[in-house]
Subunit: 753 residues, 2 copies
């Protein structure tokens, strides 16, 4: 379900690190990697993609099951020990969807809610089994009410509505895609008293404003819409009725009504063709400048009774099976240390780009590794490949598997490496920063298909050019400076959510990476629509499947190197340096919040808002902010200082001792480092969402996909929950101190203690 904006944001955490020689790391087996590369065949991947994207592949669709069976057969044929692991999940499917404008200019108007075939795209005409307009885990209902336009439907938009004197209570909201995760839109609408929600794709964001529309260009045509999940992912992914444990066939389930992550109000996604009619019927204030899209209309907010809509959604809420294909190459030396690699296989319709473009890369890796095994190679550690089902509705397949095998994974899994949609362009990687230097080393060893330089050098050039552009934002400038120094590693991004690494990283605490290419071939324009087809993908997203090949070479190398490494690939100074930048941001945020409260209080006292506002528009004063106490960061400062010292000691000791370690020491070292990232978890988890236990990385409560680092502290300050800020400064400091202690243990192993 990785969305366009997600991918474009990768590789953007600004960490200032020196590029130390990887002296502690055993050199990778470049001859093996060269043999691995020769068996990566873009044409073959294109063939798999065409076959797998030939029919709708959502959970429960026959073609999805067929793909699971094909994947299983392939893995077996390539020499893997493969099986299908089935879970039984609550997965709603649409029985009836309807939306009409009943009152207002243009009424009566019935929204189309389906996507007609596009000339020249044969796949798009295979409408059998295709889902209509639908978002999973909305709340069924049948409502008729006035319509209100809420922009992106994010918290700031509701603040603005309140100042305009427009309430959504008892109304149906229409929000545009963008500005935050899809699922937050109906959730916030519901929290504000709305009885229904509509989400549409404005042409400004992925339609004609961006590119010619499909089939002439890659952008979203007027009848295209974005399906998706509106489960409360920021609270927890996975089956809502089995929170924290696996949805095995006989698992105990809570009632749907009691599930915290299912919405209560009916919600539908629509096209901009349909949305234009609805928006045009609105009265009320002209929408603020930042709320306007690219439809040829004046955007109004509504608020009166001029436009009313009827919205109806009825779903089948029965349990459905999801089929994870799990394949293993057993390690010859350390079979109980696992390198886990996954990509989801289900999609919203044909899913050529999302997710099959990444899935076929994973298949190519598996085939090549199988061939290497047949030729005599065996990995030192165990390699586990996973083809996840049910990612789209809420990371179901991966989460249920991770929850089911939690204890074993915590004991055995050294890393989880994820991919998802893939496109032509630049490498983007997010993950635990102990792996940042490793990622750079891998990216330096794979050639970019378009330019012939290394993947890393092309990205370095890109970041340097972007940072030098007139008007570049401070983050781009900082990145450009890092990229402009060839002696420095490129930073990797912190992970939030939106793909299958979530349970591994945020619930289990495993080191994780998410890897993909994009930014050139990518098009948000067919995302989760019936036009994400083999035809569209091959023409626009990754012609010749060249970047599927590049992805296989990158992620395949990551797996090979981690499976076979003699000594650890991690470099922990990067963790200390990166967390230091996060702490710095959070401290600045605290100052900003305090300044804001003072300024607002002064402006309110002086009546400045009333004087500044246009008296012909009814606007109330904004609410005052609670006073900001001085926040004491000393516990975090101290903990971070420990991490810095311990990381530096480990890195340096490893560099000096790597060549002389005994096999027993190496085994003890693996055992010491494997669970290290788990020390960043705290059992009580984050406020409002105990499932998220990682104190360094989480998706934002109000971003949904986008990462918040030091989330317990950062979000508390953002939301002015100052008591929580203090509590989570303590918990996060504890986690970091534990981490430092774990590093000290590993250093002791190196020192032979």
């Amino acid at each position: 379900m990785k969305s366009r904006s997600r991918l474009a944001a990768l590789f953007t955490a600004v960490a200032v690190v020196a590029l130390a020689p990887a002296a502690g790391q055993a050199a990778p087996d470049k001859a093996l990697e060269a043999r691995f590369d020769t068996m990566i065949d873009p044409a073959e991947m294109g063939g798999w993609l065409k076959t797998m994207a030939a029919g709708p592949i959502h959970v429960g669709a026959p073609h999805n099951k067929k793909n699971a069976e094909m994947t299983l057969t392939q893995f077996k044929s390539w020499g893997w020990d493969a099986k299908i692991e089935t879970f039984w999940v609550l997965y709603p499917t649409p029985k009836e969807v309807a939306l009409e404008l009943t009152t207002g200019a243009g009424a009566p108007f019935k929204a189309t809610l389906s996507e007609r075939p596009v000339p020249g795209d044969e796949t798009s005409s295979r409408t059998q089994d295709e889902l209509p307009a639908y978002v999973a885990f909305q709340g069924d209902g049948d409502v008729t009410a006035p319509l209100v336009y809420v922009n992106y439907g994010m918290p700031a938009d509701y603040d603005a509505l309140e100042r305009m004197g427009v309430s959504v209570k008892g109304k149906i909201v229409i929000a545009r895609y963008g500005g935050g995760w899809r699922g937050l839109k109906p959730k916030l609408a519901q929290d504000h008293g709305a009885v229904g929600a509509i989400i549409y794709s404005d042409p400004r964001d992925d339609g004609y404003a961006i590119d010619d529309v499909y089939p002439k260009g890659a952008a979203r045509p007027a009848q295209g819409f974005q399906r998706g999940s509106v489960m409360e992912l920021p609270t927890a992914p996975g089956d809502p009725t089995t929170p924290g444990y696996g949805s095995t066939k006989d698992a105990k389930r809570m009632a749907r009504e009691d599930a915290a992550t299912i919405l209560k109000i009916p919600t539908l996604p629509i096209s901009y063709g349909d949305a234009q009619v609805l928006l045009q019927a609105l009265d009320g204030p002209v929408a603020p400048a930042a709320w306007r899209g690219s439809l040829p209309i004046t955007y109004h907010v509504g608020g009166g009774d001029a436009a009313k809509v009827h919205l109806k959604v009825v779903s089948d809420w029965s349990l459905k099976p999801v089929y994870n294909v799990i394949a293993t190459l057993k390690g010859r030396q350390k079979p109980d240390v696992w390198i886990v690699r996954g990509n989801h296989r289900d999609g919203w319709v044909f899913g050529a780009t999302d997710p099959l473009s990444g899935h076929v890369a994973m298949m190519a890796e598996a085939k090549s590794m199988g061939a290497l095994v047949k030729a005599g190679w065996k990995p030192k550690r165990t390699i586990v490949y996973a083809s996840w089902d049910g990612e789209e509705p809420g990371l179901l397949g991966s989460t249920e598997w991770a929850e089911t095998h939690a204890a074993e994974l915590k004991k055995k899994a050294l890393v989880y490496i994820n991919s998802d949609s893939n496109a032509r362009g630049f490498l983007g990687v997010g993950g635990n920063h102990a792996l940042q230097h490793f990622v750079n080393a891998v990216a330096a060893d794979v050639t970019d298909p378009q330019t012939g330089v290394s993947i890393r050098d092309r990205l370095r050039a890109r970041l340097a050019v972007q940072g030098a552009e007139p008007g570049a934002n401070p983050r781009a400038v900082a990145l450009g400076k890092i990229a402009g120094d060839p002696a420095r590693d490129l930073p990797i991004e912190a992970l939030g959510s939106g793909s299958d690494y979530s349970a591994f990283l945020q619930n289990l605490g495993l080191a994780s990476l998410n890897v993909g290419f994009g930014d050139e071939g990518e098009s948000g324009g067919v995302y989760h629509s019936a036009y994400d087809t083999y035809e569209h993908h091959s023409r626009f997203v990754d012609p010749g499947h060249a970047y599927a090949g590049a992805l296989a070479k990158i992620t395949g190398r990551m797996v090979l190197r981690m499976a076979d490494a003699e000594t650890p690939v991690q470099r922990y100074a990067d963790v200390a340096d990166t967390v230091a930048t996060y702490l710095d941001e959070v401290k600045k945020l605290a100052v900003t919040r305090s300044d804001e409260a003072q300024v607002r209080s002064r402006l309110l006292a002086g009546g400045a808002f009333k004087l500044s506002d246009d008296p012909t528009m009814s606007r109330g004063d904004p609410a005052p902010f609670p006073a900001s106490p001085r926040i004491d960061f000393s516990r975090l400062d101290a903990a971070l200082a420990k991490v810095k010292a311990s990381a530096s000691a480990f890195d340096q000791t490893l560099a000096s001792k790597a060549a002389s370690l005994t096999p027993a020491q190496k085994t003890r070292l693996d055992a010491a480092l494997l669970p290290l990232e788990q020390r960043l978890l705290r059992d009580q988890g984050l406020p409002f969402r105990p499932w998220y236990k990682n104190m360094i990385y989480a998706p934002g409560r109000f971003t949904g996909y986008g990462a918040k680092t030091l989330p317990g502290v950062r979000e508390a300050i953002e939301e002015r929950r100052f008591d929580d800020a203090s509590t989570y400064i303590g918990l996060t400091a504890e986690a970091l101190s534990d981490y430092a202690a774990g590093l000290d243990t590993a250093t002791a192993v190196l020192n032979g203690n």
Copy 2:
């Protein structure tokens, strides 16, 4: 011709000054001002506006002449010594205009080029004498050529086109309004080899994207277009055939072909209704994101032969009369010291907002002052009121008058106070910074019609709120901080061009102010169109003409106070402080330019642009920048230090001596200060445009209206003319030193020397 974006930018120069008590300034006669206010009658102004906006009022239109005669009669009836001063100017009028799409999707298509009446606006149906789509001082021609979309048609857009491999040579460009002054668009197109130019109003900038279109709302309807002048104003305003001297009846004139400020290529403005058809026919690359407007199309750049247009313009280039109405109230004590006040009277069609909304305020002031005279008051100094003609085509009336009376004005005029379009909202003032404190004092004494607080307090609240908004730019934040401190004056803006102060300030060096309200009622949507009518103005721009009243009270007070002041109203510390901020900006700019050159050189050497670019789009490397030498600002530093010391000495001496000055000292003080601002001129003027002689304030060569401060230095660095930078550092330092010496002379007068 003041445009919307112009007004919104006022009051934004960030100068950090303390609000000293105006100890040196004699208290204004508040009783007199109260009597003045009682005769300011918004209803009466509305009546004048309705009469004067009843027919087209461009140069040469019968209704414009009628308005001149009415203005003359009124001034006389109010007791002023009034006359019409006529100039004979080159002023082209359209004989034939035509535009067709001859090749491409949608061809053949004939552009409408006229504005049909709007229901409910009776004025808009008075189409007799109305000008069709036309821009004055374009170059006639009859061309058929392929079309290229050039965004705003500014220098950076041509850089981008070059990288895209698209040339405009031999082609017709279509540019949208915005991003810089209208006249620069065809001029830069011509410089790049284009054979014709079209300028259209994108709905994103003033159409349906902003507000409901007229008559439902205030925004530009699909058939509306913006007329205007495309004379090369940044080179010089005024009659192009009499550069630097008055276009009196028998003046010697150069041939039109030799005139530097007349374009050579045919140019027309069109509506977005017409533009959509043309833009839709374009092929070539999809336009970069920043180039896209709000039409429901994918914007392409063109560059091939897919779309061809035929453009024809034929003009009557005969001389026409412009009628300035000049009215005088002779001073009783110092008749040879003049306070000059003006507003133009001509417009593009009915001109209700632009310019009559300001003109009727000026009339109300004159009527009230006339009544005060009849009741026994007489100003100490002479007051001169001017109703300018021919402003729209190129500041013709004011410039020719200023050039004709240059010697007398330099000897007698203490200040020129200008207004133009006026609208509901906030005060905006630009001008010489010696008057900043005076402006603040006046704004503190007039009540805002909507909120009941002073004009200054409302603006203070607005700036404070804007500075506190999330995402406010650094300039807004700095302004907000100043505004948040009630002890500090609000900064006034530097003046560029776009209204009648230009000749006074930039050619003669007189202290000038430009004053207006706006930002709430304003609508760019009917600017220079046939819908700028009494109906539109009264409904949307200034209902009840309340802000016409506020303007009359502000500018009237300025005139009264300067006419009657016992001691100078200026405070020179503000000049020193403001110029210090400009110098600081210019120094930072030099560092930026140097950094940019280094970064680009490094990126080019590393091939970073080629690696970063999408290989499927043909893009060349950007050109390297010339190396930036170290720039020596020491002469400016030294001169500014002198100004600082001299200003401080003058202000303090005035404060301590004001009460004890003899009449002879006061007369000598007037004589010393009157020509002071003229010391900021240097005779050779600015590079490429010797008419602009002010070394502190000028319109930008590539902004047209927007001010460039320290222009000789700033633009040289911006454009990397480093030799010019050095030359103009010297000239500007000379001017500032002269200024300091003039202040010292005045201080000597105060000290009785």
